[in-house]
């Protein structure tokens, strides 16, 4: 599409300012099951999002048809959409920041340099390795995928930005069966540096995880001291991230509203949003609105310092956007995580008298309510008695309130890990949670 023509037509039809966001993506994905390639996907797609101001309102439209003959449709849609909007919020197109940080390490050629053939061979090898670890492993599904995004933003105020990011992921779903019980585990590595995909350690972790829970049954109901592993903690943090969005605050659906400067968690808890993190596709020097991104500690030593903003919410509060305006999500974090501490995971286990290590939480999209902070979730893990790991437990539920949980954190471990959505956490030791089992 001839973008110059789009800007011209928009202007001639009375659109005051216009911004385009154009993303060109490549994807490669493979899956292996029983030594056969069961999934192989290649793709190249492009998408154009257009926003424009017409009579003081912001209209939007998106398209995957990118020929010049949709230009009139795009402009007319922006106008129709703008006319329909009743919200009085002031809107504007951003002229840009003076400076955008130069970020290294968000695009790595190694993912392109390794051939598809090699990636497939490594995926087969990972399947073999996992199977060889333990005879109780009955089924392994292994996958690898990588992709790149080339993003361009242009607007009528002269802004012209571009970024290129990529990343890859390799992992496995493993099923173990000992004749009496069947359990599954999921383990993966995500990076844009192909040499980070260490097949041996990935296989060991995946296999250990799958067999560890064999024979798990519910435990007695009651209050237990809890060690939330890094994976469980990041999956619990994810649905609560919206609390830190200024949009949630302004809509009056954030529990953290009015609490800036107040203690919202244990002094050991700091929560960071870091757009400059290496090897992440979420990283970048600007957000989807063209605003320079910023590193910030939303919670510092237990005290809430502020919220994530986009242009709209920042304008409302009379401050500068934090660079968290993203297409599709309004306000989103970049790479958001609980800052790791110095405590060792093994030390945390040893310190427990009678408690439960929660290794997995299921149903966080429905069993956690970010508006009230209440959660009640299906969990599995291990009993701990006098610092020793005991039998596996499953089909229990843990219930609590996320803000209470943050306050009840007694130790933060040093083992930070990110989930798919680039939400991360180290393992956390929690004073207690209500467990429902037998």
């Amino acid at each position: 599409m001839n973008f110059d023509k789009l800007f011209k037509v928009a202007s001639s039809k009375g659109i005051e300012d216009l911004q385009i966001y154009f993303i060109d993506s490549n994807e490669f994905e493979i899956g292996v099951f029983k030594n056969e390639l069961e999934n192989y996907t290649i793709a190249n797609t492009q998408k154009l999002s257009v926003k424009g101001i017409y009579k003081g309102k912001m209209g939007t439209v998106t398209t995957e048809v990118l020929t010049d003959d949709v230009i009139d449709f795009l402009v007319d849609s922006v106008i129709a959409s703008a006319i329909a909007i009743e919200s009085e919020d002031e809107v504007f197109i951003y002229e840009g920041d003076k400076e955008y940080k130069k970020i290294e390490g968000i695009y790595n050629e190694s993912l392109n340099n390794v051939t598809a053939k090699q990636k497939i061979a490594d995926t087969y090898k990972l399947e073999e390795l996992i199977k060889s670890k333990d005879e109780r492993i009955k089924m392994v599904q292994v996958f690898y995928g990588d992709g790149s995004n080339h993003v361009r933003i242009r607007n009528s105020k002269g802004l012209n930005l571009e970024k290129l990011v990529n990343d890859g992921m390799m992992g496995a779903q493993v099923v173990a069966n000992d004749g009496n019980d069947q359990r599954s585990a999921f383990e993966y590595t995500r990076s844009n540096d192909y040499s980070d995909f260490d097949l041996e350690s990935l296989a060991t972790l995946a296999a250990e995880k799958a067999v560890a829970l064999l024979g798990a049954t519910p435990c007695e109901s009651g209050e237990y001291e809890i060690l939330l592993t890094k994976e469980a903690s990041s999956s619990l943090l994810a649905p609560h991230v919206s609390m830190f969005s200024a949009e949630s605050v302004q809509k009056n659906v954030s529990l953290l509203k009015g609490k800036v400067g107040e203690v919202v968690g244990s002094s050991k808890i700091s929560i960071v949003d870091d757009p400059f993190m290496k090897k992440s596709v979420r990283s970048g020097s600007f957000d989807d609105e063209g605003v320079a991104t910023t590193y910030k500690e939303l919670v510092k030593d237990g005290v809430l310092t502020g919220f994530m903003h986009n242009l709209k919410t920042a304008k409302k509060d009379g401050i500068k956007s934090t660079g968290n305006g993203f297409i599709g999500g309004g306000i989103s974090p970049t790479n958001l995580y609980i800052k790791p501490g110095i405590f060792k995971y093994d030390e945390a286990v040893k310190s427990m008298k009678k408690g439960i290590i929660i290794t997995d939480l299921a149903g966080t999209h429905s069993g956690a309510n970010p508006i009230s902070g209440d959660f009640s979730l299906q969990a599995s893990g291990f009993l701990v008695e006098n610092g020793k790991i005991g039998r596996p437990v499953a089909l229990i539920t843990v219930a609590g309130n996320y803000l209470d949980l943050l306050k009840d954190v007694t130790q933060v471990c040093d083992d930070l890990k990110f989930n798919f959505g680039y939400i991360g956490s180290p393992s956390l030791l929690i004073k207690s949670l209500m467990v429902s089992g037998l």
């Binding site: 099951f33 056969e36 390639l37 069961e38 999934n39 192989y40 996907t41 290649i42 793709a43 190249n44 797609t45 998408k47 939007t60 439209v61 998106t62 398209t63 995957e64 048809v65 449709f73 129709a80 959409s81 006319i83 329909a84 909007i85 009743e86 919200s87 089924m139 599904q141 099923v175 069947q182 359990r183 599954s184 109901s221 009651g222 809509k251 009056n252 659906v253 299921a362 149903g363 999209h365 429905s366 069993g367 309510n369 508006i371 009230s372 209440d374 009640s376 979730l377 299906q378 499953a394 089909l395 229990i396 539920t397 843990v398 219930a399 609590g400 209500m434 429902s436 089992g437 037998l438």
Partner: protein
């Protein structure tokens, strides 16, 4: 959208190596979304999606690629790249594309494109007003209107060539009730394979909005649910999500074919209480999960999954049928051209039994009445499931007692099916979006009111 001769060319290009199957899926979709918050229209967005997916296979193995480009050179290159996965001589497949025309079996009256944005926005305003008028305790309402027209063309090297148009619309209302102590949300989201006539002929917009408020207000005054094992009465409509998640997914060929499902090899066996019969039916006129064809170009159909407790059919797509040595059930579905199709549900429900709602409640001495279910998830390997209850009440001495919030139901699908001990006669369905391997697709869930003799209930109200 693409010339038939070009489609044939792409299919032939895909068969230049040792592959024995090729398929082209073309999608042209136009969607409108409008949102309302704080009684004001916040945004209206049109989006035009267009893309082409090419699948090439040999036996039950397949590779997939997709692109937005309708250009011949790009499509032929994609087909050639995919064909490289099956090195060898061509197997010599002959075919010609003959379009099958049965008309649209789910006709709509008013195409969304014929309706002004203003009229669509008015629905949101009406819903907002009704939700707020329900109670002074409602302090926020967020509603969303959505419609789309999805045109697809599906052609394959077996000669299949069909065109289908799916028109769907949905109005989703989330009402928040608040007091000094807490906030509770109520949700209602009716939808169907309809045009704009849905809002005049099928549902009452005001009643739908009030239902969301009713749930929010009821939960605002609810106690924390106690935890422990107890009988649970699960109501009709969205209560069917328990069957969808805990059993439906385990009956999909994606998990059965690999032996990953607890129901693998159980055809003809008793897997549920004989009171239970269950169906997946993609032909229900104008239902949310219905379509004329599945996404592999086969006519949709009705599948009897369980009959009187006995497993009678899985849901099977083309490739998994080869892997399982079974017949395909026309269950191939996908979110868009970005996904290869696989076996998925359409409109899935437990069929009517004979008990009345009152009989079920009256015969329960103590337990939980889950009037509205929230979402949930299931591990298809273990069958472990979890669901949140979005509106619940305790049952005491055969009567519905105090409201309870924060309940979660935890169990395994296979066990729960056997523990269903009463099935009502008030079958009703509700709409959901189901996420799985081939993306997020519209599905109906449903059931009559049922009772499960024992489920683990999680909650913060202490043990029973």
């Amino acid at each position: 959208m693409l010339e038939k001769t070009l489609i044939e060319k792409v299919l032939r290009e895909a068969l230049t190596t040792n592959a024995d199957f090729a398929e082209v899926f073309i999608e042209d979709k136009f969607q409108t979304d409008a949102t309302l918050l704080s009684s004001k229209i916040q945004g209206v967005n049109n989006s035009k999606e267009f893309g082409i997916g090419v699948r090439v296979g040999k036996g039950y193995q397949s590779v997939y690629g997709y692109t937005n480009s309708p250009l011949e050179k790009d499509l032929l290159k994609l087909a050639a790249d995919l064909a490289q996965s099956f090195p060898g001589e061509p197997v010599g497949i002959e075919f010609s594309l003959e379009e099958m025309k049965v008309g649209n079996l789910h006709p709509v009256k008013i195409l969304p494109s014929k309706v002004s944005i203003e009229d669509k926005d008015n629905l949101l305003r009406r819903a907002d007003k009704a939700a707020r008028e329900y109670s002074e305790e409602i302090n926020q309402v967020q509603s969303r209107y959505q419609d789309y027209v999805q045109k697809v063309w599906i052609a394959n090297s077996e000669g299949t060539y069909v065109q289908d148009t799916r028109v769907r619309t949905r109005l989703a209302i989330a009402a928040i009730a608040a007091n000094d102590e807490t906030k509770q949300t109520g949700f209602n989201g009716p939808g169907g394979h309809y045009g704009f006539e849905f809002y005049s002929d099928i549902i009452n917009v005001e009643d739908s909005a009030k239902e969301a408020s009713r749930i929010a207000v009821a939960m605002l005054h609810a106690d924390e649910c106690p935890s422990g094992k107890m009988p649970v009465v699960i109501d009709n409509e969205f209560g069917g999500v328990i069957f969808h998640e805990a059993c439906g997914h385990s009956l999909e060929a994606t998990s059965v074919a690999k032996g990953a499902s607890v129901f693998t090899g159980k055809k003809g066996e008793l897997i549920a209480n004989p009171l239970v019969s269950a169906v997946d039916d993609g032909t229900i006129p104008n239902a949310w999960g219905s379509a004329t064809y599945d996404d592999e170009g086969n006519l949709q159909k009705k599948r009897q999954l369980i009959k009187d407790g006995i497993l009678t059919s899985y849901m099977i797509d083309k490739l998994n049928a080869i892997r399982m040595n079974d017949e395909p059930t026309h269950s191939g579905r996908r979110e868009s051209y970005r996904y290869a199709p696989t076996s998925r549900m359409t409109n899935t429900y437990i069929d009517n039994g004979e008990s009345t709602f009152d009989e079920i409640i009256e015969s329960t001495k103590f337990g939980l009445y889950a009037k509205k279910m929230g979402g949930g998830s299931v591990n298809p390997i273990t069958g472990d499931f979890n669901f949140s209850v979005s509106e619940g009440y305790m049952i005491r001495d055969g009567k519905i007692a105090e409201a309870v919030k924060g309940a979660t139901l935890v169990g395994t699908g296979a066990e729960t099916l056997l523990k269903v001990d009463m099935v009502g006669n008030n079958l009703a369905t509700a709409q959901g979006m189901c996420g799985s391997l081939s993306g997020s697709i519209p599905t109906d869930v449903g059931q009559p009111t049922i009772r499960v003799s024992e489920i683990t209930v999680g909650g913060r109200g202490g043990t029973i």
